[in-house]
């Protein structure tokens, strides 16, 4: 099983663990992740304005390059996934935008959203299969009560992301079961932690992240897992009312598969 892989800039610096464990776990599962040679920063956020073209071009370039490779493109960071998926959707379904973007880019062959973008979690669920993962777990995290934190970017807008039911997702809970732990369902798992304003409005970021972390703790979770470096930072740094730890889901996966060093 071979996929193109888009790490994103944060995974090369502050979120090395998300990337490192993701790669190790993939290897253990027999999945080959080929890093796109010429990926560019996705921009971190998808501009909802229709007349914002230039800021979306870097994402289009990565998508077009993945098309040349011919494999599905796997992402890991929630924000990158959201940006790439939404940009790809616009290239596919917004003829005005794709015409303008293609005009700027002057590719040999115009790009019209041909690349299939999937998140690492979708790769685990739909390609590898959670049952297969459960079979390969050597070090099950038995007894651990884990709260999945989806945040906003992984699921919404649901019509574009199409990963799971945006109001009652199960993909990370199923993942938690696959690695032998017990999922904790809590109501704020799909509410925003305030990550985008963490620099600009600490008070708001604190308020929102505390709400998420407290809700998870109140429902008996030992830890929170996430796919987003910004959420991880925000929940660790700004949610000061509880000391519940936050990990990347890939770290736990690597641990369960016995490949965490």
């Amino acid at each position: 099983m071979t996929f193109s892989y888009y790490p994103g800039c944060t995974l090369k610096t502050k979120a090395k663990d998300l990337d490192r464990y993701g790669r190790k776990a993939a290897e253990a599962l027999g999945v080959t992740l080929e890093e796109l040679p010429d990926w560019q920063c996705c921009g971190g956020t998808f501009s909802m304005s229709k007349d914002e073209i230039a800021s979306k071009l870097s994402a289009v370039r990565s998508l077009a390059s993945a098309k040349d490779k011919g494999n599905d493109l796997v992402t890991l960071c929630s924000a990158c996934h959201n940006v790439l998926k939404q940009t790809n959707d616009a290239m596919k379904n917004d003829p005005d935008f794709s015409a303008k973007a293609n005009n700027y880019m002057k590719l040999d062959v115009p790009y019209n959203g041909e690349t299939n973008v999937i998140h690492y979690l979708e790769m685990l669920r739909d390609r590898v299969g959670f049952d297969k993962i459960a079979e390969k777990v050597t070090n099950p995290l038995t007894g651990k009560k884990i709260a999945a934190y989806y945040g906003c970017l992984l699921l919404r807008p649901g019509k574009v992301m199409q990963m799971d039911n945006p109001e009652n997702p199960t993909i990370i809970e199923d993942f938690i079961r696959a690695i032998g732990a017990e999922p904790v369902v809590y109501p704020y798992r799909n509410e925003c932690c305030g990550g985008y304003v963490t620099m600009e409005d600490k008070a708001l970021a604190k308020k929102k992240s505390n709400k998420v972390a407290s809700s998870a703790a109140e429902n008996g979770a030992d830890m929170i897992i996430t796919a987003c470096p910004l959420c991880l930072y925000n929940l660790n740094k700004n949610a000061d009312e509880s000391d519940i730890p936050v990990y990347y889901f890939t770290e736990l996966l690597a641990e369960a598969l016995g490949v965490k060093d």
Binding site: G8, C9, C152, R156, E191, K208, L230
Partner: protein, 127 residues
Amino acid sequence: MSKVTKEQVLRSSGVNVLKCMRCGKCSATCPSYDEMEYHPHQFVYMVEKGDLEPLLNSDSIYKCLSCYACVERCPRGVEPAKVVEGIRNAVLRQSGMNHIKAENIPDMLDEDLPQQAIVSAFRKYKR
């Protein structure tokens, strides 16, 4: 500031504000509600009325977390967050209206802060 028109905001956001049936679910679901002077449903209604000035001058445009909760839950498919972003971009595109200045950034950083926070802040608050 040169005049920002309703048409400009509608075109940029791609939103049809006339679809709104005034249920207020966007504001009911907004995680930044208490921080905002004008709330998502007011953005939609005021743009429809062409009453843009108060929105252009309000801090509320920087309080939207772009979490898509209102987009997801609106029963009419209005997508209020796109209206907020349309207004914010109209403001940012005016010269000298950058909400974040590069020279202030170092003060906001700490050693764990991921890149994407900075990148996206630039995208969202600066032209």
